[in-house]
């Protein structure tokens, strides 16, 4: 398989996983969140997570940042479509950032490659 085909296949698989995640991902808290709920008395170690359980975050003296697409979504009004846009955008961005970083590193290593052939 050549590089181009490998990249196309890899990206298609990654995007398919991301789109499936919008519809099939579990809504249960992850391991860290579950542990926080236990510590805060909202969940038992082996029991299910109550629907109303919510992590109480003490932001006093802590940094606070509002991400533009929290929870991999564009907000409730956009529904699953917003989730797809967010995850597809994030997946492609991760791909492009790593690709760009390595291209920069390669050019720093071999500056001759950045010059056009004469």
């Amino acid at each position: 398989m050549d590089n181009k085909t490998f990249i196309i296949c890899g990206i298609i698989i990654a995007l398919a996983i991301g789109v499936l995640a919008v519809f099939l991902a579990s809504g249960n808290p992850d391991g860290l969140e579950s542990t926080a709920l236990i510590v805060q008395g909202q969940k038992t170690l082996t029991g299910d997570t109550p629907p109303a359980a919510e992590i109480q975050e003490d932001l006093k003296g802590k940094f606070s940042y509002a991400a533009p697409m929290p929870d991999y979504s564009l907000g409730e009004k956009f529904g699953p479509l917003g989730g797809i846009v967010a995850i597809v955008g994030g997946t492609l961005l991760a791909f492009l950032i790593v690709l760009g970083a390595f291209k920069c590193i390669t050019l720093m290593k071999n500056p001759e490659k950045s010059k056009p052939d004469q």
Partner: protein, 216 residues
């Protein structure tokens, strides 16, 4: 396992960032010295795949879910723990800045847990086991399981220092949940390694050789 800003005081977050920056610098040096242009597609596709897989939470019982972390996968396939540091750092930046998955001040801790600890535990466990068992599936599964479990314990200790979790409860809960989540990590890691091996065996370095970018 993405620690949000509210879970760690800013001064401790700065300490974790400084430690993480040391490993990020070493990872950049690894990328500069060891990466060839032919491996760039693999690294970029791995980053995209790890991002997508981290957004896919699967239920692991007890009202908890989990997803692939990917540190072991990156380190095993690319033959160096610094590959995990490099890829996970960039993925965590995208997740934290755009999606609020993991904090900004806690990003250093997240890079240490998932990239550094996950990458080093995954790589050296795989390297040790593949030499003994000669079996990719057993070695990769075990390495990935440990690369999920050990960082979770590290996160519990960090939460203890931050005053967020009591040590005992944190270790028990984080350990139990991530012991289960580790099965997802192991299975997905083995599947992805086989997919990549089938597509491009020529660009995979299964880490049986000395780790690239690591002196000694």
């Amino acid at each position: 396992m993405h620690i949000p800003d509210a879970f760690i005081p800013i001064p401790q977050g700065i300490v974790y960032w400084i430690i993480a920056l040391v490993f990020i610098t070493l990872a950049l040096r690894w990328a500069k010295n060891e990466m060839s242009e032919e491996k760039i597609p693999l690294i970029a596709v791995l980053a995209a795949g790890i991002f997508a897989l981290q957004s896919f939470n699967l239920p692991v019982s007890m009202g908890t879910s989990g997803h692939l972390v990917g540190g072991a996968l990156a380190a095993i396939v690319l033959g160096s723990p610094f590959a995990a540091v490099f890829i996970l750092t960039l993925v965590l930046i995208v997740q934290g800045v755009l999606f609020g998955d993991g904090g900004i001040t806690t990003m250093g801790a997240n890079i240490i847990n998932m990239g550094v600890i996950g990458g080093f535990v995954g790589f050296y466990t795989f390297k040790g086991l593949i030499n003994v068992t000669k079996n990719i599936n057993i070695s990769a599964f075990s390495a990935a399981w440990l690369a999920c479990f050990i960082p979770a314990l590290a996160a519990a200790v960090e939460m203890f220092f931050a005053g967020t979790f009591p040590l005992r409860e944190g270790l028990i809960a984080m350990g139990l949940y991530h012991a289960l989540i580790g099965f997802i990590e192991g299975i997905v890691t083995v599947i992805v390694i086989h997919l990549i091996l089938r597509a491009r065996p020529d660009i995979v370095d299964l880490g049986a050789l000395p780790a690239k970018g690591v002196n000694g």
